[in-house]
C-alpha cells in the first residue's frame, strides 16, 4: 500500500511502499506539485527503481521551473538506495533522526 497526500505547512507526506505497482499513484500526485516541495519520507518503508524514477522525473520538472523536491525523514534503507542511485547528488536529503 502507498499513501501520498498533502500534510501540514505545504509538506507532502508519503507512506508505505513505493514499488512498481504503487508508483503510478505517486506519479499522478507528484505530477501536479509546483515550486519547492518537501516530501516527508518518514513513513516510506520501501522504494524500488520504479519509485526512484518517479522522484527523478518530478525533480527534473521542478528544477526546470525554478523549484525543487526535498526529501526529509528518509530511513536508512531508502537512504542507502538513494546513495547507490547517486540521488544524494541531485536531491537535498535529510535522513531520519
Amino acid at each position: 500500500m502507498l499513501v501520498i497526500d498533502h500534510g501540514s505547512e505545504g509538506v507532502v507526506v508519503i507512506r508505505g511502499r513505493l514499488d512498481a505497482a504503487q508508483s503510478p499513484v505517486a506519479d499522478a500526485f507528484l505530477g501536479k506539485v509546483q515550486g519547492v516541495v518537501t516530501l516527508d519520507c518518514g513513513g516510506l518503508e520501501y522504494v524500488s527503481s520504479a519509485g526512484l524514477g518517479v522522484l527523478l522525473k518530478t525533480q527534473k520538472r521542478l528544477l526546470a521551473a525554478g523549484g525543487k523536491l526535498r526529501l526529509t525523514g528518509v530511513n536508512r534503507h531508502v537512504m542507502e538506495l538513494l546513495g547507490y542511485a547517486g540521488f544524494d547528488q541531485i536531491f537535498e536529503i535529510e535522513p531520519a533522526r
Binding site: A20, E45, S49, A50, L52, L56, L81, Y84, I90
Partner: protein, 582 residues
C-alpha cells in the same frame, strides 16, 4: 368424559334472551382457553356447538393449507375423510367463508349422502360454518347436524358465527402449541444425534513421522451429516472424509455408523479394497433407498509417501503439489457408499506425496458455501488460499481457510456441515508460487515472501534487499518478454540466508544480469528514469545468476542473500528496524 365446555353451557337456556346467549358463548371461550391437546379441543368444540345450537351431531374439518384440503380429524361416530376445498358443502363453505344453512339436505345437490349410507345415520338439516381466526386465517369448517326441534334458523346462525370465532382461535392455538412441542422434541433428538456424531471424531491428531495432520468439523446449526477420521492403522494412516445425504438426524447417525464400521473393519485387518466393499454393502442394506454417503477413504504409507484411496462420490480431491505451487484435482473413483451392493470394486487409486505436498479433503459445506449474493465459495478460492498459506502449520492453514469462507459469506449463515482434513508431508525450507505477468502482482509477491520469512524465521533485515531484487527482476521479466505465462518464484532457505529463483517461461534467451551499471555520476539533466534496477540490486544481494534452458525456453534468474552481507554494509545500524510491516 364430561365436557367442561358443555358443562359451562348446560346452565344456559339457548331459547332465552340474546344476552343469555352471549354469556353461553363467553363461557365457551373461557372453557376453550384451557390447555387441551388437539383431540380434546376438537371434542370440546363439537360438544359446545351441539349444546349451544341444540344439534344432534357435529364435526370439525381442519383446513390443510398445504394440500388445500379439508380433513375430518374427528366426527362423532364417523370415519376420517379428506375433501378438496371448493367441493361439496364443506368445500364450498371453506372457499367462500360464509355460513351455509341447509334445511333439507336431501334436496340440496351439494350434499354428499354417501356418509349417511355408510353410517346408517340420516341427516335432515345442517349448518356448515367456516372457522376463521382473528387474523382472517381459515382454520377449518364446522358442521352441526339435525336440530332437535325443526331446522336451524337465523338466530342459530348468529350464535354459530360467534361460537365459530372462539373455536377457530382455540384450535389455532392448540395446533401451534403442538407444532412447537414437536419442533422442540425434534431439536432435542437432533442435538443427541449431533453429540453422538461429534463424539466419534478424533480428539487428538495421530503423530506420523514426517507428516502434519489436521482435522476439523464445524457443524451447521440444524442439518448435515459430515464426519472424518485420521487414525493409525498398523504402520499406515487412515484418512476418511464422509458426507451423508439429507438433512436432520438420519445423516448424522448414518455417518456415525459408517465411521464406526470403518474403524472396526480396519482394526480387524481388512485390506482397503475389502473394507470399502464391506462397509458399502452393510450401508446398502442398512440405509433407506434414497440415502447414501459420499466418502474418501485412503491409507497413507509414510515410508513410501503413497496414498492409496477410494473416493466414493466424494470430489474434488485436492492434492496440493508443492513443486508446482498449485493443486491437482481428482474425481471420485466410484459412486457413493450405500447406493447399492457391490460384488467387486475397481482397484484403489494412488497419489504420491512429494515434500511439501498437502492432501486436502473438504466437504461441500466449503465449496458450496453461499455468500449473501448466492455465489458459491468454489474450488478456485480454496486453491488460492492453499498457495498463499502453504507453509503455515496445518491448523493455521485450516484456520485461514475457514476465515476466508467467513469473510466471503458476508454474514450468510452456514447451511451445511463443514469438514476440513489436511495431511501435509513436511518439507519446510522451500516454497513455490506463480504470479501473473503484471506489475500489480508485486504486492502478492511481497506477501508471499513475508509469509515465507515468518514461517522460516529468517532474519527480517534481509527483507528489503530480497523484496527489491525480486521486484526488479520480476518487473524486468514483465516488461521485456513477450510470454503470457505466469512467472514462477521459488524461495529456498540456504543456511541462514535465502535463495530466490524467478523462472520466465516460453521466452528467448536474454541475460538481464549483463546489463551495464547506470552512470549515477551524471548531472541531473542527463539522468533518465529507468535503468537503475539492475544497478541497485547488484549492490544489495550476494550473487545474481542467469541460466537459460533452450529446450524448454525457460529463463531463470537466481539470487542469494545472507544476513552477513547486511552486517558488512550496515555496521552500527540499530538491528531490526528493517522489518517494517506492510
Amino acid at each position: 368424559m364430561q365436557s367442561q365446555v358443555a358443562a359451562a353451557i348446560a346452565t344456559a337456556d339457548p331459547q332465552e334472551l340474546v344476552a343469555r346467549d352471549m354469556k353461553a358463548i363467553l363461557d365457551v371461550a373461557t372453557a376453550l382457553a384451557a390447555p387441551f391437546d388437539l383431540t380434546t379441543m376438537l371434542a370440546e368444540v363439537i360438544s359446545a356447538a351441539k349444546q349451544v345450537l341444540q344439534a344432534d351431531r357435529g364435526s370439525v374439518w381442519l383446513y390443510d393449507a398445504k394440500c388445500d384440503e379439508l380433513v375430518l380429524e374427528i366426527a362423532t361416530q364417523m370415519k376420517a375423510i379428506r375433501v378438496p376445498a371448493g367441493a361439496g358443502l364443506v368445500g364450498t363453505c371453506a372457499r367462500n367463508r360464509t355460513i351455509i344453512n341447509v334445511p333439507d339436505c336431501y334436496a340440496d345437490p351439494r350434499f354428499d349422502s354417501t356418509v349417511d349410507r355408510n353410517s346408517g345415520y340420516r341427516t335432515r338439516c345442517m349448518l356448515t360454518l367456516p372457522l376463521v381466526d382473528h387474523k382472517d386465517v381459515l382454520v377449518g369448517v364446522m358442521q352441526v347436524l339435525n336440530k332437535r326441534d325443526g331446522v336451524f334458523d337465523g338466530k342459530d346462525e348468529a350464535m354459530a358465527t360467534a361460537l365459530a370465532a372462539q373455536c377457530a382461535v382455540a384450535l389455532q392455538r392448540v395446533q401451534m402449541t403442538e407444532a412447537l412441542v414437536e419442533g422442540e422434541r425434534l431439536r432435542q433428538e437432533l442435538e443427541m444425534a449431533r453429540t453422538v456424531q461429534m463424539s466419534t471424531l478424533p480428539s487428538v491428531m495421530p503423530h506420523i513421522e514426517g507428516y502434519s495432520v489436521f482435522g476439523a468439523f464445524q457443524p451447521a446449526e440444524l442439518t448435515g451429516g459430515d464426519t472424518y477420521d485420521v487414525a493409525r492403522v498398523g504402520d499406515e494412516l487412515l484418512v476418511v472424509l464422509a458426507d451423508a445425504t439429507g438433512h436432520g438426524i438420519a445423516p448424522a447417525l448414518s455417518v456415525t455408523q459408517m465411521h464406526a464400521m470403518l474403524r472396526v473393519v480396519f482394526h480387524m485387518g481388512s485390506k482397503l479394497q475389502d473394507a470399502v466393499v464391506q462397509v458399502n454393502n452393510q450401508l446398502a442394506d442398512w440405509l433407506a433407498d434414497d440415502r447414501f454417503i459420499t466418502a474418501f477413504i485412503g491409507l497413507l504409507d509414510p515410508r513410501t509417501h503413497r496414498v492409496r484411496y477410494h473416493s466414493a462420490g466424494q470430489a474434488p480431491i485436492l492434492h496440493f503439489q508443492a513443486a508446482r505451487g498449485d493443486c491437482a484435482l481428482y474425481k471420485p473413483t466410484s459412486f457413493p457408499l450405500g447406493a447399492m451392493r457391490l460384488a467387486t470394486l475397481r482397484p484403489s487409486v494412488s497419489l504420491d506425496m512429494a515434500p511439501g505436498d498437502i492432501l486436502v479433503l473438504l466437504s461441500d459445506g466449503i465449496y458450496e458455501y453461499q455468500n449473501a449474493d448466492g455465489e458459491d465459495f468454489g474450488v478456485d478460492r480454496v486453491r488460492a488460499i492453499l498457495r498463499a498459506h502453504q507453509w503455515k502449520p496445518v491448523a493455521d492453514l485450516a484456520a485461514a481457510l475457514l476465515e476466508a469462507v467467513e469473510t466471503f459469506a458476508r454474514g450468510a449463515a452456514q447451511q451445511d456441515d463443514i469438514t476440513v482434513v489436511l495431511v501435509r508431508r513436511d518439507a519446510p525450507h522451500h516454497a513455490v508460487s506463480y504470479f501473473d505477468r503484471d506489475v500489480r502482482a508485486v504486492g502478492s509477491i511481497v506477501d508471499f515472501t513475508a509469509a515465507f520469512f515468518t514461517h522460516e524465521a529468517l532474519d527480517p533485515r534481509m527483507r528489503q534487499a530480497v523484496d527489491l531484487t525480486l521486484e526488479e527482476i520480476f518487473t524486468n521479466m514483465v516488461k521485456y518478454s513477450a510470454s503470457t505465462a505466469q512467472v514462477r518464484v521459488d524461495l529456498r532457505c540456504v543456511g541462514e540466508g535465502v535463495e530466490v529463483a524467478l523462472t520466465d517461461y516460453d521466452v528467448d534467451a536474454f541475460d538481464m544480469t549483463q546489463a551495464p551499471d547506470a552512470n549515477v555520476a551524471l548531472p541531473i539533466e542527463q539522468r533518465k528514469p529507468g535503468g537503475l534496477g539492475l544497478h541497485l540490486i547488484r549492490r544489495v544481494v550476494d550473487s545474481i545468476e542467469y541460466a537459460y534452458a533452450p529446450d524448454t525456453r525457460e529463463s531463470r534468474v537466481t539470487f542469494r542473500k545472507t544476513p552477513k552481507s547486511d552486517e558488512k554494509r550496515g555496521a552500527g545500524a540499530p538491528p531490526g528496524d528493517v522489518s517494517a510491516g506492510h
